[in-house]
Symmetry: C2
Subunit: 313 residues, 2 copies
């Protein structure tokens, strides 16, 4: 059994093709090869904890992931995210490895999923990327997007000037030419690939400003109360994709648009089916597409397995 | 963050008063101070995995426990039980310790719970103990019982002669005078403290053979299909106790007796209430008492915390 620290994990991540890995995870999920237990939630005074577990049929490991958010931690000089992933052998139950990733693999797999959505749904030639939010996920999304698009023109929306300035600096280091703005409608109107990464509880921009030919990926909304997109944008979309239809019924943008009566569940495709070709994705450059990513355990299983395998040599 | 192996854990267990620790855990549970998430179950081809998580309100840690049983492991020279317990800080979500106990702490806390039941429910002077089963749990129950009764007369029931002989040897090393038998009714009739630890799916002995003044603890039945006790024994009991009324509605001996219409839920007391004095236990030496133990997360939380604290010094 091997224990790996975050620095071990960070060291090997650049050697992995995370976008392909996540694409395969979504296909496995949509082909019903993932066996996933219900998510467990523990609520504490200062934070919340999620425990997720599952495996891929025919795979070598099952994975138990513990992830927490404690929002008073930054004031104590600690990361708000914590967690680890445990890999056990499917044949014997033996613990094969513990990855003390402190939540980083969850950030990375979420960002790589955004890149997968862009790879399969964005217009053929992206001219400008818009990112909503300036946090860790906004940075990681940008880093992952570099491998699926040549576009390096970026508009960033955020609430705070300092955070915008700091994000712009990081984006420039990643090779982007950056404009910052606190005007959500203008930022959304300027781009044909939009990624939203905020904890917003109401739409970040009106549906009407989104240009034909735009792809929008929403990753911030992970509870029934959070919302980043106008339900009318989902109604307007020609292609509407969920990472998990089952989960998107219960949380996220699709949940909100269904509740608002703006869409019907029958319109929603699953990302794994788009990747495998079982469902059509974008068919013309002028279509608007929306991907709602809530995160599936198949992603955790696959990123944990591949990090472990590289670390094992 | 500290990692502790099974040998570390075994080394410190003798310094802990496990019976008092488990008694306190049951009181915390019955006083509604335990916050426990639903148990997660993963079913694999060769085994099953349970993930349990929870904390005590006002405590320092929350605990996530992974425990598995892979029944083909002994043929591979591996233990069928595997698992670990993780302690995280309630205030920050930081991992405080990982106890790689390989399922041993679950065995021990279950055995210590049997001793708690005997301490609070057995007749004042036990003359003969009967143990049903010859496995790990049968041995650990006996080891823990030594601290709550002076009785060293033991009858053991088992299906296999070799296992009985091996168990008898271990029991003698623990200071017991041992009789072995494959006649369940005779064994049950001979004792006034009976502990059942088997994976049986039908009653091990008829209710009618149990003598007045006997206490029976059942720990083997942990699924809806398993059953060790005759429902009529529960009907006959003057004192009927569950570690968790909520769990015993769904599995174990009480579940089976409720389903058979032999008892009403209103008759069932909770062990923590008996310990704290909120509910009466045995009031006369001639009563028959039955305790059905299905295991509660408060036990895991408390044994993990105390092992960690001793290891920390």
């Amino acid at each position: 059994m091997k224990l790996h620290s975050l620095s071990d994990i960070r060291r090997v991540l650049p050697s992995l093709d995370l976008v392909t890995l996540m694409a395969n995870a979504f296909v496995a999920y949509s082909e019903d090869r993932a066996r996933v237990a219900p998510v467990v939630e523990l609520l504490l005074d200062g934070g919340d904890v999620h425990v997720k577990s599952g495996y891929l049929v025919g795979g070598e490991y099952y994975v138990v992931k513990v992830a927490s958010g404690f929002y008073g931690n930054p004031a104590l000089g600690l990361s708000s995210s914590n967690g680890l992933m445990l890999l056990f052998r499917q044949r014997t139950g033996e613990l094969a490895a513990a990855l003390f990733d402190e939540g980083h693999l969850t950030d990375i797999r979420t960002a790589a999923a955004g890149a997968v959505a862009a790879q399969y749904l964005a217009p053929p030639e992206v001219r400008r990327i818009a990112v909503f939010g300036t946090g860790i996920q906004a940075r990681e999304q940008l880093a992952q997007l570099r491998s699926v698009t040549a576009c390096r023109q970026l508009s960033v929306w955020g609430r705070g000037r300092e955070q915008l300035a700091s994000y712009a600096e990081a984006a420039q280091e990643l090779g982007f030419t950056v404009e910052t703005s606190r005007d959500g409608a203008a930022v959304a109107a300027s781009a044909d690939l939009i990624v939203t990464t905020t904890p917003a509880t109401e739409p970040l921009f009106p549906a009407s400003v989104v240009q034909p030919g735009t792809h929008v990926t929403a990753v911030g909304s992970d509870t029934p109360l959070k919302q980043e997109l106008d339900p009318q944008l989902l109604a307007r979309a020609d292609v509407l994709v969920a990472d998990s239809i089952a989960q998107c019924r219960e949380r996220g943008e699709i949940f909100r648009a269904l509740a608002a009566g703006a869409i019907n569940e029958g319109e929603v495709l699953e990302l794994g089916d788009v990747i495998s070709g079982r469902a059509p994705g974008r068919t013309t450059p002028g279509q608007i597409s929306v991907a709602d990513l809530t995160g599936v355990a198949a992603q955790d299983i696959e990123i944990a397995r591949s990090v472990h395998e590289v670390l094992e040599g």
